[in-house]
Symmetry: C2
Subunit: 241 residues, 2 copies
């Protein structure tokens, strides 16, 4: 009998590819609901119950709890990047663009405060830092920002060595201010965006001034200095294999 050879592609093996992804997404949804219902320290039983199945089913799709939470995190990543990408790539006066990016971020956390808090606080100590979604996201955003800033600086023949620290500084700045704002909403989102954009703009402007360059914050930059790569996707090295 012609047995199916070990590495051969049996259609039975392929048939589920899409299904599995859909199922995982379904469980991620359930987890988010369960977190909203029971708070951030839900148990796997409760999550399974919320999904209408029992625990072992969950474990067929996720290696362990932390794997599930990672998937929840990536869901958050997607929501964030979907908004941040366009905001970063948008044309327009620099001052507006800064505010736009900041505001896009604040929008996302404002619209999903529970998910956001869960993902940010719920990092696992038993996983390496590299598998922390928040860390990944921040690194990714910072990397993009660093490239943009670097291009910017080089376009003006300035030292671009500060681009990376600057980028991480900006990311941390917006995130922390956002956290604070989310906890005690003592001002409108617009006001905060405006304040943050002001800081950032002044920092940039100051840097340029120190090199005797003046830029009008309300006039679009010439050229494509600020153009990013069309793809601002998370390069997820653990996705393959």
């Amino acid at each position: 009998m012609a047995r199916t050879v070990k590495g051969g592609s049996d259609a039975r093996r392929e048939r589920w590819k899409g299904h599995r992804e859909a199922r995982r997404a379904e469980f991620v949804d359930a987890t988010i609901r369960a977190v909203a219902k029971h708070g951030p320290d839900v148990g796997m039983d409760e999550i399974a119950a919320e999904a209408g199945v029992s625990k072992p089913v969950l474990y067929r799709h996720f290696a362990d709890k932390s794997d599930l939470y990672l998937a929840v995190g990536r869901r958050g990543t997607d929501m964030l990047m979907d908004r941040l990408g366009p905001a970063i790539e948008k044309d327009g006066p620099i001052r507006d663009r800064i505010r736009g990016i900041v505001d896009a971020y604040l929008c996302v956390i404002e619209e999903n405060p529970n998910l956001y808090r869960f993902v940010v606080r719920g990092s696992f100590t038993d996983r390496p830092v590299e598998q922390d979604v928040v860390h990944e996201d921040k690194a990714l955003i910072a990397a993009n920002l660093a490239r943009i800033l670097g291009d910017y600086l080089r376009a003006f023949d300035m030292d671009s060595g500060g681009a990376e620290p600057w980028a991480h500084a900006l990311v941390g700045m917006v995130q922390n201010a956002g956290d604070w704002w989310l906890d005690r909403q003592s001002m409108s989102r617009q006001s905060l965006s405006e304040y943050l954009a002001t800081i950032i703009w002044h920092a940039i402007d100051g840097l340029l001034r120190s090199a005797n360059i003046t830029v009008d914050p309300d006039v679009p930059l010439p050229g494509s200095v600020f153009k990013t790569e069309p793809t601002l996707r998370l390069i997820n090295s653990s996705e393959e294999a």
Copy 2:
């Protein structure tokens, strides 16, 4: 027989006051050593072993694991505040003072990277946010910064509404840049301090310029606008009772 009345001060009760504190400190030390030895996910048994005692002893001094870790966190807080306080209160040209504060922070995390990482990553999901040491510290520092900035702005008759978001933004900025730097030490501490101080100074300068005020970054501010309260201690509401 005149039994010791229930609320009365029996010297037997007081005799240990200092001792208990010393013992807790000792266990905190042991925990830090244990973390350094076994990584951030040490068990209570290992910590107890490191301290040379068995588990129940630990639990006589700490309500639970998270209480112990809280104490470890406060140890970190103390180290940080001991450096940050003087740096904030120091006189001198504003630009230098900013760099001094930033550098003080970076020094602390540079000197205690393991402790720092443990405290920052090891936040507990089962405790309310208010008991997160990192959150506490950031809030405290931001509050001080906000007051300073507010005074500063008011001294120049400017809108001080942005002081709080600014403060949180600055805290997040320095922290995140510091984290990044600690992970991949791709530049000297001095360079990073310089870069961050530059950003901050430019942001402040820009803000003042927008109100038609110019300040020389290298000249000490007149008066005591920048004077902080002599006490930059953590107000620990859970200490009493």
